[in-house]
């Protein structure tokens, strides 16, 4: 008898589930169950989103925030495009997202291989990573701010090993962005590692063993067997990391407040600054809407990648 592969068994389960859902009388129940969630989304997501778009198309400042909003069309968007600060923030955000993506997925992949087994050290490492992941961003950001500070632990260790003048991790405008990106990655790595671990565990054992019997080393198995099978999961995880990094605000706020100067001012932080510090609500909303469109595009990529992953199974 031909052994059933995990993927074909999974497809059978899916077909069975679909048949169960198609039973007469089954479909009429589902809209009622979705009702509260839909209502919640309409009130707390859709309606504010509609008003955000309206704000982005209007002249809204502190004087008329609680009064009428005169429509100005795309003025806020054209002003944003022409604004050097917005362009600079966009480039900063791209660099930030790229760094977080590379570090998170790269180190997360290595970590996934390390925690794949059920050994004590693998479980300990997993527990530590989950702990880091669960810490509030304010705690993480403040902790690393102290570590990076002059006289902090990192500088002290570097001096102890002979580095006379440790870098100014958060005060140097060329280093500050990478430092904040590193901390953001540090928090994202556990998520990537756990997601990829699940993908690795889903790889049929027989495929790995077959490659090993053919003389492949661990590295060759990882590169030529595991990674290609893992590609759909990697893509889904990467898209989620990009979305997270793109909208990341808390670490910038806690660690650098967008500085030194404007060196770490990303799009989300600039949106916060425009709206809640300068009370230029229209311009801030325009930035917010632009970010939503970009994240929506990335979310569409995620959905597409997720569907491709399921189809591959």
């Amino acid at each position: 008898m031909t052994p059933t592969s995990p993927r074909s068994a999974y497809s059978k389960v899916q077909r069975a589930a679909r048949l169960a859902l198609d039973r007469p009388g089954r479909r009429t129940a589902s809209p009622l169950f979705a009702g509260p969630a839909v209502l919640y989304l309409l009130v707390f997501a859709v309606y504010p989103l509609v008003e955000l778009v309206r704000m982005s198309l209007s002249a809204v400042g502190i004087a008329n925030l609680l009064r009428d909003w005169p429509l100005t069309g795309l003025d806020n968007f054209t002003a944003a495009i022409a604004d050097d600060d917005v362009r600079a923030a966009f480039l900063t955000t791209l660099a930030f997202v790229g760094t977080v993506l590379m570090l998170s997925v790269g180190i997360g992949l290595v970590a996934a291989f390390l925690i794949r087994s059920n050994s004590f050290w693998a479980r300990l490492l997993t527990a530590l990573m989950v702990f880091v992941w669960c810490l509030p961003p304010v705690v993480n950001g403040t902790l690393w701010k102290f570590l990076f500070s002059d006289g902090g632990a990192i500088g002290s260790i570097l001096q102890a090993v002979g580095v006379k003048h440790p870098p100014f991790w958060l005060a140097d405008p060329t280093l500050a962005l990478w430092s904040v990106a590193f901390v953001t990655s540090w928090v994202t790595i556990p998520f990537v590692a756990i997601a990829l671990k699940a993908g690795l565990l889903d790889i049929p054992r027989e495929v790995i063993e077959a490659a090993q019997m053919d003389g492949a080393s661990h590295l060759q198995v990882a590169r030529h067997v595991s990674l290609p099978i893992l590609r759909p999961v990697l893509l889904v995880t990467a898209v989620l990391v990009v979305i997270y990094a793109f909208r990341s605000f808390d670490f910038v706020y806690v660690m650098t407040l967008g500085g030194p100067g404007t060196a770490t001012t990303t799009i989300p932080f600039l949106g916060y600054k425009l709206s809640l510090r300068l009370f230029q609500f229209g311009e801030g909303a325009a930035l917010g809407v632009t970010s939503i469109v970009l994240i929506g595009f990335l979310a569409a990529l995620y959905v597409r990648a997720a569907r491709a992953d399921v189809a591959a199974k």
Partner: protein, 431 residues
């Protein structure tokens, strides 16, 4: 639309509920006073002029962003002072982080709610009044018997109506470590040239130079602007060559090691904590550190910030107190203000508990100020103080100036680039 605006601001507040920037631009969240001759008897409430029944039973909500132990003591003392006149009024003092207070006031006003009294950065008065968040207290101030004890510069009007007054003035000066200066043979500087020479001497001797706030935004603006005022510039910064020169001088201090490079990550509280380590000869800090300074293990003093040809000028900060637009009992809110922050007894409490400089002339002449070398130094600087900018455009200019101050100190931008950017953007912002 208003409800959604409130919801949007509410969500933004939740998102932004991270650690707030330490201190405030108008100087306020560090430990307290203790001038040398503090009053030994409890303050007595002065009779209010509202005609309210003193036995009225009500709740009174006060929003503020003051968070240190000293400020908590002050708020408790002010509450106790008020309860001497109105024993059955429950005063609920609610802390709101500094950068969230204005958005929260706006969000609550959207649903026609808000505090009875707001203790806020008075520079926002025009914005908040325009947004309908504050109630004008023109009629109250007009019949206030003690109004003449307040200098006009601390009573703030919008469209001819009084919306807030400052109960105290806060400002920055140059704190110095007397022990280091004595060791290095330096007297406290009064001019920029003397200051630079002093910095060169102390750093050559292996001591720390100047601890200063170099963070972007309002922090950098509050600390950096006096350097420009001292050269005769004003908020318009019209003389680009002079602006470049000031930036270049301060940047050179970083390059020479007079100012630590890491100062661009320091807020006001961090600066003063660095000063208290005893390693720095100088620090730019406010009068509200008068109590904190008593923890120093070295001798210290304060002089006005050294300046160039135009003389030392600093912003006069300090919180303003106002009545909320949607208070259920404006008379009671006014009675509270009159009995506490705007009274002589209340202002002396602020002096005693925090080191805030009273704005009433009868309180400002208290011997606790003249007998304190620290507070008398600041009181001198009040005479040449500069009023805070209050229009939304000026608020935008503040942020630009603060960002550029931080950018120059860190090296992100050259002095020439920063001056050119100011020259390009400021006229449009302030037109």
């Amino acid at each position: 639309m208003r409800t959604v605006a409130a919801a949007a601001l509410g969500v933004a507040l939740i998102v932004g509920a991270c650690s707030s920037p330490a201190g405030s631009s108008s100087g306020g969240s560090t430990p307290a006073p203790a001038p040398t001759t503090a009053a030994t008897t409890a303050p007595t409430a002065e009779p209010t002029q509202t005609g309210l029944d003193p036995n009225i039973k009500a709740d009174l909500t006060v929003w503020h962003y003051l968070t240190t132990d000293a400020h908590n003591t002050l708020i408790a003392d002010e509450t106790a002072l008020f309860n001497q006149s109105f024993p059955n009024v429950t005063v609920k003092n609610e802390f709101v982080p500094f950068d969230q207070l204005t958005p929260k006031l706006l969000a609550s006003a959207a649903s026609k709610q808000g505090p009875d009294v707001a203790v806020f950065q008075w520079g926002d008065v025009q914005s908040l009044a325009a947004a309908g968040v504050l109630q004008d207290m023109n009629s109250y101030w007009g019949s206030f018997a003690d109004a003449s004890t307040f200098a006009p510069s601390v009573v703030h009007s919008v469209n001819g109506k009084v919306y807030t007054a400052q109960a105290y003035a806060n400002l920055i000066g140059l704190w110095y470590n007397s022990d280091i200066l004595a060791k290095d043979g330096i007297t406290p500087p009064t001019t920029t040239a003397e200051f630079e020479a002093a910095l060169a001497k102390v750093t050559a001797a292996g001591d720390g130079g100047l601890a200063i706030d170099g963070k972007p935004g309002v922090d950098g603006w509050w600390t950096g602007m006096p350097f420009f005022f001292g050269e005769g510039l004003d908020v318009h910064m019209a003389d680009q060559a002079k602006v470049t020169s000031v930036y270049a001088q301060v940047k050179s201090w970083v390059d020479k090691g007079y100012i630590p490079k890491e100062a661009v990550t320091w807020d006001q509280d961090t600066v003063f904590n660095k000063f208290l380590t005893g390693k720095f000869a100088f620090a730019v800090g406010g009068n509200w550190y008068a109590q904190t300074a008593t923890k120093a293990t070295f001798k210290y003093g304060v002089v006005p910030l050294p300046a160039g040809s135009a003389g030392s000028k600093v912003y006069l900060g300090g919180e303003g107190e106002a009545i909320g637009a949607y208070t259920a009992n404006p008379d009671l809110a006014w009675a509270y203000l009159q009995a506490t922050w705007f009274s002589k007894a209340g202002q002396l409490l602020a002096l005693k508990d925090v080191g805030n400089l009273p704005t009433r002339s009868d309180a400002a002449s208290d011997p606790a100020i003249s007998s304190s070398p620290v507070l008398s130094g600041f009181a001198t600087a009040v005479q040449t103080g500069v009023a805070l900018p209050i229009t939304p455009a000026e608020n935008q200019a503040q942020t630009l100036m603060g960002d550029l101050w931080s950018a120059v100190l860190s090296g992100q931008k050259t002095p020439e680039q920063a001056a050119a950017e100011l020259a390009q953007k400021l006229p449009t912002i302030l037109k």
